[in-house]
């Protein structure tokens, strides 16, 4: 099937099998290997991207379902300099192995769209679909709160 998608501002036209998952499309056709495949069972959230501006788990969307969509991956977030959320993750050391980080950052930026000034509890709730097996979440939560302060300022 023919699909057209915009990924990080670049338009792609491709023939894909209906069964191709969006995460495989992004990695193998569009070269967005910054979006990792984690659990592959839609639990872990590592593959989270923005589809038409909203966070989704790209292992749980078919590429054909994304036809016509505007997609942002972790690789499209920085604009010359790091996105405030990326900078906050860096400054707060909100990662160890880094595997969950692309999904965490995409989920966290989406969270701030709806709630620019979240409480710590709201951050933890908002990231419930993203698993980190290294950090215990402490620095991730700190980073999201710091980014929120930056967005407000």
């Amino acid at each position: 099937m023919r699909i057209s998608v915009t990924v990080d501002g670049v338009r792609y036209d491709d023939d894909v099998e209906p069964r191709l998952l969006l995460v495989h499309y992004l990695r193998e056709h569009a070269g967005r290997t910054g979006t990792p495949i984690g659990c592959d069972t839609s639990n872990c959230g590592a593959c989270t991207i923005a589809l038409n501006g909203r966070s989704v788990k790209s292992c749980s969307v078919l590429a054909v379902q994304a036809d016509g969509a505007d997609i942002t991956t972790i690789q499209g977030l920085a604009n010359g300099e790091l996105h405030p959320m990326q900078r906050a993750f860096h400054e707060e050391h909100a990662l160890q192995c880094g595997y969950c980080t692309p999904g965490m950052i995409m989920a966290a930026t989406d969270l701030l769209k709806d709630n620019p000034d979240p409480t710590e509890e709201q951050v933890r709730e908002g990231l419930e679909g993203n698993l980190c097996r290294c950090t215990g979440y402490q620095n991730i939560v700190k980073a999201v709160l710091k980014a929120a302060q930056g967005v407000k300022a």
């Binding site: 099998e17 069964r19 998952l21 839609s42 749980s60 078919l62 989406d110 679909g129 993203n130």
Partner: protein, 284 residues
Amino acid sequence: MIPAQFDYVKPSSLEEAVRALASDEDAKVIAGGQSLLPLLRLRFAYPSVLVDLAGLDALRSVTDNGSSIEIGALVTHYELTRDPLIAAHAGLLTEAAGTIADPAVRHRGTIGGALSHGDAAGDLPAVVTALDADLVITGPSGSRVLKPGDFFSDYLTTALAPDEILTAIRVPKLSGWGYAYEKFNVTAQAWAIVGVAAAVRRENGQVAEARVGLTNMGSVPVRASAAEAAAAGADASPAALAAAGARADEGTNPPEDLRAAADYRRHLARVLTGRALTAAAGLS
């Protein structure tokens, strides 16, 4: 974890979608895909063709029908949590939808998909059961309306024929009712071990009417009829509502699995129903 091969069509009208389903007995509807895609990837399901409803924009609206709210089947869980009409007249849906899975799943998953999937461990089946919603179904010979008690027939099984589509959910407006959804699980984004959807109407310090739907207390979502009857006419007090809640498991046949024994589910249903009734009555 790549799904088996299938064809894919994206009809632009409901009639076309029904025709696509009717022409192939192994066709399957996909909406948000948040239940179906994991099943496809695990190869628990082998549809020959997926009929994607995403082109049917008419199924995305929420409308005020006077005495009820009509919610299109493609309304997402996220939209359920944000829609002002639903919040004003069917707040139980707003509250329960906010507990489904996690934000990214809620952006894709739809109310029609969650109900058609027929998972008694899902949250929305018990909510529409408590609200006694009308489920509007379209097939080759036209439309029909089923009540939740007739729609949900067994584990992951509904009364939908293979060529029928759930198109809308009509939820009666409950003005002046309080509501609460109590969900018990032990990890984030998990299914409810047991969930309780309760709505209560108070009158002169008493409970005039109560509705209770139970999540994961049987092969289908069920009403806790004994608890409803006990609550009706009771004092609007935490003690009286806890006593009513203690009858919530009567007549149920809860599943037993790795997460909970049946007896434990019965215990949870009794305790959570007391809490849900108390919260719905505005007492907690």
